[in-house]
Symmetry: C2
Subunit: 129 residues, 2 copies
């Protein structure tokens, strides 16, 4: 099981319910421990994230921010909140209304990134002779 900590600001003009929908679109099992100006939650699965990255055909471009986000045994990435509200994965930072911060705990971050977004350009395994 993967442990994923989620955090997103909810600005004055935003609807708390809609910010939750944005998070739940990518982490449908998320539960929230804090609601208000700041939303904090937890999820235990990157499956929807993986599905969306494959469906959007952004596996290779997703690897950049994921690999860049490795901090020891964690991966830290930010997802665009508005894209998430529309059900899409978009890695970004500094959006006007704030982003969704995602902190994924993983013993082997690179293996998890391969599971989420396997490279499409990596050479195929050597043929069995």
């Amino acid at each position: 099981m993967t442990r994923i900590r989620l955090h997103a600001p909810c600005r004055g003009t935003e609807s708390l319910a809609k910010v939750k929908v944005a998070i739940l679109n990518l982490f449908p099992d998320a539960t929230f421990s804090r609601e208000g100006d700041e939303l904090e939650g937890e999820s235990s699965s990157v499956e929807r994230l993986r599905e969306r990255i494959h469906a959007q055909k952004i596996r290779d471009s997703a690897r950049g921010p994921l690999l860049h986000g490795i901090e020891g045994s964690r991966i830290r990435v930010t997802l665009n909140k508005q894209a998430a509200y529309a059900g899409r994965v978009s890695f970004s930072a500094d959006s006007p209304l704030g982003d969704i911060e995602v902190l994924i705990e993983a013993e082997d971050p690179e293996a998890l990134i391969d599971a989420i977004a396997e490279s499409t350009t990596r050479p195929p395994p050597a043929p069995l002779l």
Copy 2:
């Protein structure tokens, strides 16, 4: 009467009602001709804007973006949407994304700016002798 055109985006996670409140906090007479992803409206008074600038004691700092915004017989400024939702005036000229765009039509823009935010440092008028 002053004619003021107002425009603000309403992002996916935002509440249309709250974005309207943000605008109405600074332009209480505003009426909206377009609602949805984009909000368009009109107001005929800068009185609340003037009041807030005076109450916040930001007359001198407000003059910068107002004077910078003069385009012929119009003044174009952007106001931070979140500050407006909280009832405050905050000019945010460098990040128009997500802000309230304000276009004030004025035959004499500089005179209008003096009315909205008279300088506190300008020398007093010469005494009548």
